[in-house]
């Protein structure tokens, strides 16, 4: 087992290096430059933009810049943002809490909806409940978050005036008031993101359950006279959850990406909005760092999924 884990980790390193090369080259070749705003400003002489380019090493060949970056990374130096002249790691750490809070809550919400609904729908396939759940799930993942987000804003902020339209990290108050306010402002983004996730997850849980529910050993368990609840929870769900757990693990990085739109709509100062504004400002060190973090998350969760497989089904790790 440990040998298997070690092997997976060793494979992860070159893939991360490969990813970093691709990211770096793509960013270096992409149009636009971080000093574009200076170009139209008559107050800023062209020499300043040129000297800044030189100072930040933007005129060096790509491979030199890459080597520079990778060696700095190896020393734990993430570089600094051209735009805010602040270290990139500080910038990311500042954004992380909001992202974790909103995405984490949304993910929990989606599981709280998807698992019970998916399981119950699978136990009674083609029943009225199943059909309603299916319809809602289809509607749910056909509606993009930017649409539901604006719809929610129009209903709950503008018309009803219940919830704030703008998410702010600077919530007034202390103690219980602060907690309530934090929850209040997160309701809309969490609901938008959570419902979207729940929709596809429900479909997945349902089909995973259906796959297992028809297997012979389930029939055997029923034949032994076990109660329906016990069969579903102990025998069916446990096995059906294996692919679901994997899916959740693999979806985590994608969720970070999917939250970009939601973060933009509600002005949540998360990693996603950092990525967007950095891309718009051509702030390459930040874009590079954030996308690399995403890449690391993908590799990490893949690794966890692999390890989980190995643990759930020992045959995999022996191969």
């Amino acid at each position: 087992m440990s040998q298997y884990v070690l092997r997976r980790i060793l494979i992860a390193i070159p893939s991360l290096l490969g990813i970093s090369v691709v990211l770096f080259v793509v960013l270096a070749l992409a149009p636009g430059d971080p000093f574009s705003e200076l170009a139209t400003n008559p107050n800023v002489p062209a020499e300043v933009a040129a000297s800044l380019r030189a100072k930040f090493g933007l005129d060096d060949p790509i491979y030199l810049r890459y080597l520079h970056w990778i060696s700095a990374m190896a020393h734990g130096d993430w570089g600094f943002s051209f735009v805010s002249r602040m270290n990139v790691d500080t910038l990311i750490l500042q954004r992380l809490p909001a992202t974790l809070y909103v995405i984490g809550s949304a993910q929990i919400l989606s599981l709280l909806i998807a698992i019970p609904v998916g399981v119950y729908a699978a136990t009674k396939p083609y029943s009225l409940f199943d059909q309603i759940a299916n319809t809602l799930a289809f509607v749910g993942f056909s509606l993009p978050t930017f649409f539901t987000g604006i719809l929610f804003i129009l209903i709950f902020s503008v018309t009803l005036d219940w919830l704030p339209l703008v998410y702010t990290t600077d919530v007034k108050g202390t103690g219980i008031h602060w907690v309530l306010e934090m929850i209040r402002q997160a309701i809309m983004p969490v609901a938008v993101l959570g419902l979207f996730q729940a929709a596809s997850m429900t479909r997945f849980v349902r089909s995973a359950m259906l796959d297992v529910i028809r297997l012979d050993y389930v029939t055997t368990a029923r034949a032994k006279g076990l109660g329906q609840a016990k069969v579903i929870v102990k025998h069916v769900m446990r096995n059906a959850m294996i692919p679901v757990v994997t899916l959740i693990a693999l979806q985590m990085p994608a969720v970070f990406g999917g939250a970009i739109v939601t973060e933009q709509i509600f002005r949540i100062p998360g990693i996603g909005s950092l990525l967007i504004s950095s891309i718009l400002a051509n702030d390459t060190p930040v874009v590079m760092a954030v996308t690399f973090v995403f890449a690391c998350l993908v590799v990490l969760f893949n690794l966890i999924a692999d390890v989980l497989y190995g643990w759930l089904d020992p045959r995999i790790s022996l191969r």
Binding site: V44, K55, M86, D161
Partner: protein, 596 residues
């Protein structure tokens, strides 16, 4: 205005025979705005006055929280590194310049004790130096006194190329010396009619010497106070999250009486213009929204029964179509749009003039810009003093067609006009931006009716406005026949703005397209007018020279002005906010308050 008459009036004011207000009113009556009337007075020998203050609160504080919404949060808080207005706006919450501009373009004192003039000895008659007196008793937020040393330090800091300050152009050609603790003198190497650049306005706010002295030059990025400002302003720094949030609290030692009104402020960034307008105008969650570029009918709808309103400020920003004077489709020495070529179609002035007749500015205003735009015939649209009255515009497809007919451009079999085998086919490019694409469509339609085939092209703004010389789509390369955008006019003086188009500034491969004359317009008469204006200390003659320069650009149809654009902001109904078209949004924030 007749030169003699004006002079007589200035003399009357100087003698006290006419009061200043009457003078300004009479100037306004002949189309000269107060700011310029004031500058004329200043140079004509009468002190430049401050505009009247509208500030009402009678005590400091008590105004609660002020919530501001920007569509991009500031990313750093040092005015010398501020890229774009969002950073200048953020820094200006804490740092202050010697003076700033009010909505009429009047000078407003901030850290200076008086406006330099010839009378008070502040202004040298030869225009080669200006002496500023500083307000006594001003303290930095950490309690240290603000003195002339700080002002001199800012000059040393910014002019050092190793600092890479974006304000370097303002400071590198001047000399700043300390006269005494509360007096500084700026020396210019040539007569400088517009002396109010260095240390004036949000981009030139002053940072403290005692905290930045160790971080001059190459170490400039490492200064811890780049992210935690210690200024002299009405608000003290609390918290900064780049791109997201800036917070501050009332400065109890602020040097202006009864100010500031608000106890705290919060400046939040992110999102889009429509939702910002909604948060201010419709739900009232925020007090102020910056630069609300939303279509006018949307704003009007939000305003109905809302908690806020849209407000407008007039500056000098002009949306224009520039015509290419060189040939974008022929390569000379590996360079397109080379100055060695001539545009095959535009070398006929009739084609350029016809195009100008085909831009329906009234329709563009009606359909697109609404209250945020004004139709104009000029490239230079402000300040009033510099605006030409000699020009006019009209929209007429018939006249354009006739003009082309007369010049020998006859419609071919496909309806497109041609002459000597050259077809009137044009490529018209701009940046991707809703109003711009709509304008393109309006122009294209009119051109089609007149027998001109226009191909539209739009480039992502981050590419179009970039300085990346490797990209063929940047606006200075101008690999098209026409291009449309707007150059921000950042000062209430046209010198910088108009200098761009002298022959020496033509954008070429040789200067890596850093030359700012992108239409590649070469005219000795224009060069001479600009050259003369820059050394002209007589304000009336100087204004006449800039008006002449504008008339040359328009007469030759180098630019087709599309719209004189106004600044649009959203504000709560009870917020009294002073916004100047000649300054940053936060420049006059010390005068903001809430009406009961």
């Amino acid at each position: 205005m007749l030169d003699k008459k004006l002079r007589a009036m200035i003399d009357k004011v100087a003698d006290g025979r006419m009061d200043r207000r009457a003078f300004i009113q009479r100037m306004a009556a002949v189309g000269l705005a107060a700011p310029l009337a004031n500058q004329i007075l200043a140079l004509g020998g009468v002190a430049m006055a401050e505009g009247p203050s509208t500030y009402k609160p009678t005590k400091r504080g008590g105004g609660g929280a002020l919530k501001l919404l920007w569509w991009q949060g500031p990313t750093l808080l040092n005015p010398h590194f501020a890229t774009g207005t969002k950073d200048q706006d953020g820094s200006r919450m804490f740092y202050e310049p010697l003076a700033c501009w009010d909505p009429d373009g009047n000078m407003k004192l901030v850290l200076a004790a008086e406006i330099p003039s010839i009378q008070n000895g502040g202004l040298a008659a030869d225009g080669k130096s200006v002496t500023w007196k500083l307000k006594p008793g001003v303290k930095w937020h950490d309690g240290k006194p603000f003195t002339a040393d700080d002002v001199v330090f800012n000059w040393e800091y910014a002019k050092d190329p190793a600092t890479s300050a974006l304000t370097i152009a303002t400071y590198r050609d001047i000399t700043v010396e300390k006269v005494d603790d509360l007096t500084v003198r700026i020396l210019f190497n040539k007569p400088t009619p517009f002396w109010a650049d260095a240390f004036v306005g949000a981009p030139n706010a002053i940072i403290p010497k005692h905290l930045f002295a160790d971080y001059k030059g190459a170490k400039s990025r490492e200064a811890p106070n780049n992210l935690s400002p210690v200024g002299t302003g009405p608000y003290k720094f609390i918290e900064f999250k780049p791109g997201d949030l800036v917070r501050g609290e009332l400065n109890p030692d602020y040097h202006m009486p009864n100010r500031p009104y608000f106890d705290t402020f919060e400046m939040k960034g992110g999102g889009d213009a429509v939702s910002a307008a909604r948060a201010v105008i419709q739900t009232g969650e925020y007090d102020f929204g910056y630069n609300i570029q939303v279509e006018d009918d949307v704003l009007l709808r939000l305003e109905k029964g809302g908690k806020g309103k849209a407000i407008y400020a007039v500056g000098g920003d002009t949306e224009f179509i520039a015509l290419n004077f060189t040939d974008p489709n022929t390569e000379v020495d590996g360079e397109r749009s080379s100055i060695k070529t001539k545009h095959p179609l535009f070398s006929d002035p009739a084609v350029r003039k016809a195009l100008s007749l085909l831009v329906d500015r009234e329709a563009v205003k009606k359909v697109i810009y609404g209250r945020a735009g004004r139709t104009t015939a000029n490239f230079l649209n402000g300040p009033e003093k510099f605006v030409s009255k000699n020009t006019s515009w009209e929209f007429s497809i018939e006249k354009a067609s006739k003009m082309l007919d007369d010049a020998g451009w006859k419609p071919g079999a496909d309806g497109i006009r041609e002459k000597d085998g050259k077809k009137l086919k044009l490529l018209y490019q701009t940046s991707i931006n809703g109003p711009r694409q709509k304008t393109q469509a309006i122009v294209k339609q009119a051109c089609q009716k007149a027998g001109i085939d226009v191909e539209l092209k739009s480039v992502v703004a981050s590419v179009f406005f970039s300085s990346d010389v490797g990209n063929p789509d940047i606006y200075p390369k101008f690999y098209a026949d026409m291009e449309m955008f707007q150059i921000p006019m950042t000062q209430p003086d046209p010198a910088q703005h108009m200098r761009r188009f002298i022959s020496a500034n033509v954008a070429t491969k040789e200067n890596k397209w850093q030359g700012q004359n992108f239409p590649r317009y070469v005219n000795k008469e224009y060069d001479a007018a600009i050259e003369a204006a820059e050394g002209e200390m007589d304000p009336i003659k100087r204004a006449a020279l800039y008006i002449k320069a504008n008339d040359i650009l328009i007469g030759d149809t180098v630019f087709i002005p599309v719209q004189h654009r106004l600044k649009v902001e959203a504000a709560a109904n009870n917020l009294v906010c002073i916004i100047s078209g000649w300054a940053n949004e936060t420049d006059n924030l010390f005068d903001w308050y809430r009406e009961a």
